[in-house]
Amino acid sequence: MILQIPLMLLLALAQPPTPLIWAADEEGGAPYVYRDNKLGRVGFELDIINALAEELKRPIEFKQYAFDSLIPGLLKGDFDFAMNGLEINEERQEKIRFSKPYYIYRQQLVTRADEKRFNTLLGCKNTLGAIVGTMDGTQAERLLNQAKIPIRTYSSSTEAYSDLVSAGRIDAVFLDLPMAISYALPNKRLQFAGKPTARGFYAIGFHPKNETLAKEVDAAIDALKTNSKLRSILVKWNLWDECQEELSPGFLFEEEGRPNNITHSILEENQAWTINRYLPLLLEGTWVTIQLTLCSFALALVLGLPLSLARLYGSPWLKSLALLYVEFFRGIPVLLLLFFLYFGLPAIAESSGLNISLALSPFIAATLGLGLNYAAYEAETFRAAIQSVPQGQWEAAASLGMGKSLTFRRIIFPQAMRIALPTTTNDLVALFKDTSIASVVALVELNKQYQILAKSSLKFVELGLITALLYLALSVPLGRLARALEKKLAPERR
């Protein structure tokens, strides 16, 4: 009897908590939550939901619900909350309780690539007969109506864009930036017209009486912001831009009158472009690039030396193993390696039923990938350097009674390092530039930061120049340092 009570308690604890029901419209299109032919249900909101579930320690179940019925359904109590690119606006705020925002959206005008008549919303308005496509019940639709621009509405972004590109029944599409990024950016026949404008917030909708849950979710969202998980999800989906900086907890939303006053900004095209705004972000990216360079180079050196020793002095078995490593990692593209480490490893862990998670952080994956690759090059550099120390040095040491390993450590290795130094430093400069490849594993280093900022500001040239200068500011002195070191060590050479 006494034993039974804790046992029952245990059983009760083992019962999973009741799942929360989340409603969204899969048919609304990418990148919110949608069906991918191969991957099934995906989307940046699904990723956020998963992160929230982890934070709340409660499973969350998906419920398909038509987009324009989400709010009635919520009030009816059909599900616990709605999350599907719901923009915060006054009308909705009167009916439902919004969570803290998880994304700052803006609207993007997209035209066909050959459009000559206009490239702003104002220009479109002044073009006789021009029709703009958008989606039902969106903020974009309201804005277009307020601006008295002729519109055609669709129930999904896919339909709107394909009507623009192939059918040509409309002249532009005005929709949230995430949709434009998902559909129009990869499509060569479409172009972004002007800058994104009219910012606002996506937030999760709750029944006004469900304050307890709303508070819990608010806290979870704050946590995702603090631990940067939200940021990495947005980066993964190519949605991160400098606007999102404002998402940091406590930054906004509590402030009155700031966010929703968007109507007047709709036709305002010029967002002040100031270096003060972009430089800190680019410098942040530079710092990530520096850290990545140093860590991966350290790894390359630490792996490269034993590899070169195995190649030179190992048993035949070790020798061929080291050779295999060198040939393999010099032979495959770093890009492939990074993809494999970042996306492939977790898949392997999953499919092989391993209980460990092989999901590496972007920084670790990039460090590993670049380090493993450069280790192959460093191994060859060290090998060549060790071999180019004259044979006479070995013999002189031997004739003094020095052993093989003592000779290597004290006589051969120090000289080999001096010989290898210029090549190694050149490799360091090359690696420094190669770190830009890490953007494929969602690491926001300098190059990625540039892409993010340039995409949102469309200042490709200006930001490009600053970014190039930042790269040069580091690689040129590094090259100089190499030459200076070479000179400094030279007097000791024969």
Binding site: P390, Q393, A396, A398, S399, L400, M402, G403, E492
Partner: protein
């Protein structure tokens, strides 16, 4: 300490380089080897020092013996003979990344495990002996050829050898620098060092050698006191060789 080399044979590929070479160097004497290029002089010294394997024959230096061994399994690092025998090379082979003093103290400090102060005192004493104590903190690249070779001698002496092998130690030096190295070697001889030298310094050989050996095709052609070999050799090849050296 004496050297006894008996019936040494060494081939590189199919080419015999040492072909049954037998040579004695009595303790405290100076023996000079001369002979045409490619006759195996360097190979012989390297075999004596255990830097190279021998195919057959025996080498004895004092109590230390070197046996014939398989070339593939041979390691130049295993020889015990280095405890009594030093070697000096034609192109010095100083350690370019270490100071002059460091070159001299490296082996006593690391192999004989002398403490720092002892090794340093020994190094300075030996550098003084070769007239270079003022250059202790220079690097090899800052020295002249004659100075380099004297550092190499000091470096070899630091291991307290009883026998020194010298392979054309003055050949890459300007004529006016040769004597500073040869003077040091003469001094060592007078202190009782056993010297086996390959050199074509006829003047030095006449003055300092106890025995001169003429080597050709890996064999001893003739050996004897310097006057005999250098001035009236029996073999006509030696005469032509020496007259070419003098001209």
């Amino acid at each position: 300490m004496n050297i006894k080399a008996h019936q040494i044979c060494k081939t590189f590929g199919k080419r015999p380089v040492l072909d049954g070479l037998t040579l004695d160097v009595p303790s405290g004497e100076t023996v000079v080897i001369i002979g045409p290029s490619g006759s195996g002089k360097s190979t012989f010294l390297r075999c004596l020092n255990g830097l190279q394997s021998i195919d057959s024959g025996t080498i004895q230096v004092g109590d230390h013996k070197l046996e014939a061994s398989n070339e593939k399994r041979f390691s130049p690092f295993s020889s015990e003979i280095r405890k009594v025998q030093g070697m000096i090379f034609q192109d010095f082979n100083l350690f370019p990344h270490i100071s002059v003093l460091g070159n001299v103290t490296e082996a006593p400090a690391r192999v004989l495990k002398h403490n720092q102060a002892d090794a340093r005192n020994l190094g300075l004493e030996l550098l003084k002996k070769v007239g270079l104590e003022s250059h202790a903190n220079h690097y090899p690249s800052q020295l002249s050829g004659g100075q380099k070779q004297r550092v190499a001698i000091a470096r070899a002496l630091a291991m307290k050898p009883k026998v020194l092998l010298c392979d054309e130690v003055t050949s890459s030096l300007d004529p006016e620098l040769k004597h500073e190295v040869l003077d040091v070697l003469e001094k060592l001889k007078s202190e009782g060092m056993t010297l086996l030298m390959v050199t074509h310094e006829i003047g030095f050989a006449k003055k300092a050698a106890d025995k001169v050996v003429f080597l050709a095709e890996g064999k001893v052609v003739e050996e004897g006191p310097p006057q005999q070999i250098l001035e009236s050799p029996e073999n006509s090849r030696i005469r032509t060789f020496i007259s070419k050296l003098m001209s």
